[in-house]
Amino acid sequence: MIELKNVSTVYDDNFMALDKVDLSIADGEFVSILGPSGAGKSTLLKLLTRELIPTTGEVVIDGVNLATLAHEDIPLLRRKIGTIFQDFKLLHSRTAFENVAFALEVVGAPQGRINEDVPKALDIVGLADKAGNFPRQLSGGESQRLALARALIHRPRIILADEPTGNLDPVNGHDVVQLLMKINELGTTVVLVTHNRDIVDTLSRRVVTMEKGKISRDQAENGKYII
């Protein structure tokens, strides 16, 4: 359960990125967040990964107010949340396998678990046969699916996808969204930030529209791309 209660975020230059936002996302929901640049979508995601704390209000995940989280508990929160981005954020000097394994290495997972879990994650995203390829040898769609495999490796409860189809052609974009749907069907909450009208319209799920730091529309079901 994700809850934003009366959340405002003001940056150092006095820019108000979020203005008294209330938002509640239930477990297992698939929510698309729309809005023009500067609407506050990225700030919202940063609040959820505890990169930022709100200037006022509360961000609560599974009953825990993130502002009260101890410094050493932040990594534990981030293991519950998988994140993917428009620019994939892959390590170019590592193979597909190693990119996914990296996420397990940094949490101190034993090699046995790495050897067992990484192929499974690659299999879920359809990259089992590309484990030895470097990111430069993968297409855009494959790179994003690799990033998704990495995001899935900790079996997260929530997936945050920040414009994951922004750099992809429609076919590859569609594949990635299908994967997100599949992951959502297995019970993972998905928060998708996107500009892609076709994707939002075909998803027919909840759509939250933001403008100037506020939620201007919240279509609970069968939402459409309306700005």
Binding site: P75, R78, R79, V106, V107
Partner: protein
């Protein structure tokens, strides 16, 4: 499990260290320079202690008796001296002992040996060597002897201004050590700054990795530790480099120094205590490296 984690961290640190070889070389070199200077300070301290303790062990006043002075007279003067609380020790050397010592000292010199054998009588005088409780007390001992009732049996009184010489040696040593300490500190700060900048460079170069580590929930310790390992590695390599340079240098200088200062073995001192010095230099080197990493991590690594 812990071994595996530690292995990964050390490997990551080693890769950081190895990857920018030129910068690594410079950083290691600067830390090594600080360590060599530090060893130099230890050497100066050792040498000045040797010189001072050598001087402190020396006789402060030597009293030579006329050749016709009787042993009784000499013993009276000796016991009078021993009763003074400014006197620590009085050593008697009889005329025969003096001659024997003289002969032994010049055993290789045929001319002296022949000259001595041609003399009818022993030309050497009996003497008392007086060690003061405090080297500064030689003047009161001399004036006591000058006014002694048996002054006429005394041929000459030699005194040595050991205190003044000790003072001078200590002053020189103190200035060298103070100057050296300041230089070492300044250089240590420069070394920390250089190492700090190198580690900052690594942090900047690894922005992508660090961002991903944070993203996937890498523990703070795991993100930071490789940079601490990197800092420690600069210290370890600098320690090894400085110790190698130092021991080779001491090996070259020590025999030459022994000519000027007989009985002083720099190589003996540093060789005999090598485990302690190796440990000390390693600890100081690693300390410098780790402090630099900690400053860099604090300033530039957001976790």
């Amino acid at each position: 499990m812990l071994k595996e984690k530690l292995g990964r961290v050390v490997r990551a640190g080693w890769n950081n260290f190895r990857r920018n070889s030129y910068v690594t070389f410079g950083t290691t070199g600067v830390i090594a320079l600080v360590l060599v200077l530090f060893l130099g300070l230890i050497a100066v301290n050792f040498l000045s202690n040797v010189v001072v303790s050598g001087l402190e062990g020396k006789v402060d006043v030597a009293v030579y008796f006329n050749t016709d002075a009787t042993q009784d007279d000499i013993m009276t003067v000796k016991s009078d001296l021993e009763n003074l609380n400014t006197v620590a020790e009085v050593t008697y050397t009889s005329r025969d002992d003096a001659l024997a010592a003289f002969k032994a000292r010049h055993a290789q010199d045929a001319l002296i040996q022949t000259s001595l054998s041609e003399l009818q009588d022993n030309p050497l005088e009996a003497s008392l060597e007086v060690k003061a409780t405090d080297p500064g007390q030689y003047a009161s001992i001399v004036s006591f002897l000058e006014t002694h009732k048996l002054r006429t049996t005394i041929d000459k009184i030699n005194y040595y201004e050991n205190e003044a010489v000790i003072g001078r040696v200590q002053n020189i040593s103190r200035s060298v050590q103070e100057g050296g300490l300041v230089a070492t500190m300044v250089l240590a700060i420069i070394a920390i700054l250089v190492a700090f900048n190198t580690i900052r460079l690594t942090i900047v170069n690894q922005r992508a990795e660090i961002e991903i580590m944070r993203l996937v929930g890498g523990s703070n310790w795991y993100i930071r530790a490789p940079f601490l390992v990197e800092g420690a590695l600069y210290g370890i390599f600098a320690a090894v480099l400085s110790l190698a340079v130092w021991y080779v240098g001491v090996g070259v200088v020590s025999p030459k120094l022994a000519v000027v200062m007989p009985g002083v073995s720099l190589i003996g001192y540093f060789g005999g205590n090598s485990p302690q010095f190796v440990l000390l230099i390693l600890v100081v080197g690693i300390g410098l490296g780790v402090v630099s990493s900690m400053v860099a991590i604090r300033r530039f690594l957001k976790v």
